[in-house]
Amino acid sequence: GAGVSQSPSNKVTEKGKDVELRCDPISGHTALYWYRQSLGQGLEFLIYFQGNSAPDKSGLPSDRFSAERTGGSVSTLTIQRTQQEDSAVYLCASSTGLAGGNTDTQYFGPGTRLTVL
């Protein structure tokens, strides 16, 4: 696609429910990232995929958070037993994965605003 797309754009859920957020990266981008942005804060790294594997999961805040990527393309971020503190905008980014030893420019999607009541 032309850019990174995410769905849904907004999600309201009740505390304790599970949610799934979807990210569709730029076509051909092998690297994919998830970040979380709480109100008035910068972006907090969650997880990085290269292809279908996740060499860096260091930002996942708890074992209620998991992510997978299939076919080297679409990724889903799943939050189980949601808590109110999970409310945030969840942003996905992708990059070519070809930067080698350099920083790979990341291109962001519009995010999913999650509200946990």
Binding site: E44, F45, Q50, G59, T103, F108
Partner: protein, 111 residues
């Protein structure tokens, strides 16, 4: 712990003014400094800086990195209302693909 700090957190100016946004970083194995503009939700890429003292320019925006001072500035000249946004600074790290973001500067340009 890797850290990026931006200042000011909020800035309100009049159209036509020039603004300077600041970013300082404390990261192990620093590799690069990136600036993004966030208007609604999706941050859009502005600049990536890896070499100290070399200015990057795009129209009315410019940025420079000072590795000695562990800092970068983003300048916007002749500001327009369309420049109103949150400006995010991020550090790229050697051996990792994640970016470490600052908390952002919310810039408001009044007509």
């Amino acid at each position: 712990e890797d850290k990026v700090v931006q200042s000011p957190l909020s800035l309100v100016v009049h159209e036509g003014d020039t603004v300077t946004l600041n970013c300082s970083y404390e990261v192990t194995n620093f590799r690069s400094l990136l600036w993004y503009k966030q208007e609604k939700k999706a941050p859009t890429f502005l600049f990536m800086l890896t070499s100290s003292g070399i200015e990057k320019k795009s129209g009315r925006l410019s940025s420079i990195l000072d590795k000695k001072e562990l800092s970068s500035i983003l300048n916007i000249t002749a500001t327009q209302t369309g420049d109103s946004a949150i400006y995010l600074c991020a550090a790229g790290i050697q051996g990792a693909q994640k970016l470490v973001f600052g908390q952002g500067t919310r810039l408001t340009i009044n007509p």
